[in-house]
Symmetry: C2
Subunit: 437 residues, 2 copies
């Protein structure tokens, strides 16, 4: 009887466990709420209308169709019983010999869940499509808005959080306003749009070398992004935010200020850190449950070299996934010493784009910025995109955007007029009727 391995979550961590077990005599079930693997590092480009959702999401069944020892199950996990070693889904209950939890994180509002409606986070495709809709609708509404103050509020974008997501989003929104849209509107100058990036600490990109944060700040400021360091957002509502003591009218707020583990891991009854991540042992298993692993953003995994927690980036998840696959393989095949290897995080560098032809990148001890940084950023992202066809499409889209500033994916999907906020003025229509009098 082959051992049963259940992997929950088809992101970077989960997919690497599965692929690492390709030639191992196990039955794998990969369960995910969605039917696709999402290339999260480019999610911000969907939110800012440069790429289509289809460009960065590859159907899990397609990715794994040649690997015969895995069954993909599109399923929501209702519960996990670590003692009985079972996973509970709507279709029934299922026992496992090994369990790998790779459920990722969600946006954290630090006790202010009421912010969520006005300041969506960016963690999955639905978020990206919703943020795209809000950004595009803001310009559509501003075009008709007769009231000057109200129009300014519609054209003010606040990005909360100065990590890679916040930096990339604010750069891309500024580019959209300054480069893509100016010729498309008749009553507003989209270049007057304000993008405000709010960061609690004293520098951007706190997880990367200081020189990268400085460069990102300089480049963003040169593009016109306003950066508020050492600042906290203390209020968010329909019409704006409070940054420290200052009230800013802004109808578009995006929350990139932090993440928290998924509710599912809270039900395990194991120790979590303050970000809601499972504290795992050096072999990434849950203490007391050697057959149950947690990997990727869902885990607080201590790097055995540095004693520091592993950063929540794709590389961390990939490396954890590979180690867990190796551990399971050794045990199933009865090879190795019987002692499990422990997790070391190999920092392969970090990177963030800032705008057209601009990025900051560290690879090993080298730091690149500007155009070279951007080329390195592009090359690395291409390399890790799962799907060949997506690579061609994404390269074309980037090339096109680089030359023309065009963002082809500017769809406002869903029922557009169900969501539209009140437009207080009646700008265009009133103006013209007066003309005619």
């Amino acid at each position: 009887m082959r051992p049963e391995v259940i992997v929950i979550g088809g992101g970077f961590g989960g997919i690497n466990v599965v692929k690492g077990l390709k030639d191992v005599p196990v039955n794998i079930t990969l369960a995910d709420r969605h039917n696709y693997h999402l290339f999260q590092p480019l999610l911000y480009q969907v939110a800012t209308a440069e790429l289509a959702p289809e460009d960065i999401a590859a159907p899990l069944r397609g990715v794994l169709k040649r690997q015969k020892n895995v069954t993909v199950a599109m399923a929501e996990i209702l519960g996990i019983d670590l003692k009985r070693k079972t996973v509970h889904v709507r279709m029934g209950e299922r026992g496992y010999d090994y369990l790998v939890l790779a459920t990722g994180v969600r946006p954290a509002y630090y006790g202010h869940d009421d912010y969520k409606a006005f300041a969506p986070g960016l963690k999955d495709l639905n978020d990206a499509v919703e943020i795209r809709r809000r950004i595009l609708i803001a310009f559509e509404e501003a075009e008709f808005e007769a009231d000057e103050l109200s129009r300014q509020g519609k054209l003010t974008f606040v990005v909360v959080g100065g990590g890679p997501t916040g930096v990339e989003l604010s750069g891309a929104i500024m580019e959209t306003a300054a480069r893509t849209l100016p010729k498309e509107f008749r009553h507003i100058d989209t270049r007057t749009a304000r993008v405000i990036l709010v960061q609690g600490g004293d520098r951007l990109l706190a997880g990367m070398p200081a020189v990268m944060g400085e460069r990102a700040q300089r480049d963003l400021q040169a593009m016109g992004v306003e950066i508020r360091l050492n600042s906290l957002v203390t209020e968010v509502d329909e019409h704006g935010v409070k940054i420290g003591d200052e009230r800013v009218a802004a109808e578009n707020v995006i929350w990139a200020a932090g993440v928290h583990g998924q509710p599912l891991v809270e039900t395990l009854g194991t120790e979590l850190d303050r970000l809601g991540r499972v504290k795992v042992g050096p072999d990434l298993s849950i203490p007391g449950h050697p057959e149950a692993f947690v990997i990727g953003d869902a885990a607080q995994a201590i790097d055995a070299n540095t004693g520091q927690p592993t950063p929540g980036v794709a590389q961390g998840a990939i490396q954890m996934g590979r180690l867990v696959a190796e551990i399971i393989q050794r045990e199933v095949e009865g090879s190795g010493t019987g002692e499990r290897p422990v997790f070391y995080y190999k920092d392969k560098g970090s990177m963030a784009t800032i705008g057209r032809g601009k990025a900051v990148t560290t690879i090993g001890s080298r730091t690149l910025s500007g155009f070279l940084g951007w080329l390195a950023w592009g090359a690395v992202h291409m390399f890790f995109l799962v799907n060949f066809r997506s690579r061609v499409s994404v390269i074309l889209e980037w090339f096109w955007n680089y030359l023309s500033g065009e963002r082809r994916s500017r769809l406002i999907q869903g029922e557009p007029h169900g969501h539209v906020k009140e437009v207080r003025g009646i700008r265009m229509f009133e103006e013209r009727l007066q003309d005619e009098v």
Copy 2:
């Protein structure tokens, strides 16, 4: 004072009026509920996961950014007053000198609006994304379904209506089941899926030459599509349909059986035909309102040559749009004889794809089918796609699909588990638990 032209609807008809008025001294307002022009002939390829919505939808502002005499307004029209010559939107009321209604059609259920929930039609992008979701979810559910009959119901697709949309959809669904998916599932053979095409009349593609209908029928049957001619669907519910007297268990039904004008034109108080289209005069204006035109699918426009109504195809809308632009131009510039030109429909041919490398096409008096028909079909569609970047992307996608059968756009978007139907068996999970006993 420049005359004000309001165009409602940014489809083939509306966009051609606007473009035809490029150099004419008028102020144009183009109003559409959505912010994009949709290339409807390829909508079925979004519904069947070959193309992304972004491939066939071009932002209206982008399409028209160089035309300075047009303002794009993303707006829902609340009312039209033909007497006062005003259009009412949420932002206010606006007077016009010329009005062009190009609002298209919606699926018609002939008094059976209760069918709609179980049998969506395919008219806009939201429909296409929803149909794609249903088709993909059907296979996901069947994979887990233990009950044989219930599984058959999930793997049975009924397409109601044998016009171009019905023919193209049923071919594409069959290809997905027989070519794209077989290697991706572990518990079901997707090639056992049934696709049933139901047509009320005695042949397919009733609007095209008889030889095309016959060829389409032969090609579809060779692919495994079951074709029911002279058959009516008399019942649709959650679990299936009644075709004539026969009850067929089918959880996936798509309605391509007919169309009806939009509710907006019903409020005009003018004469409509039985399809809810406005009966327009030879110059495409509403009788008694020479400054108000109706074009495209929304109009019942009689071809001055044949005395027959113009078919509801892209070419009809394009030609009507151009004529109306010409009429307005003449009057604004005071050129021409003072007598308005009348509408002649120039039939440039018709076409429908059937499957991989197979289509039926008539261009002028020539009929092409099979691979040649498909090449002609592809070339014509490329020519009319608005956006250069989309052309590259669509050609790549077709080429890729032709070679590999891959359909890259297989995303189940939205909250997937909010919609999932009950799965009665618990196939995989139960089976395996029993294995372990």
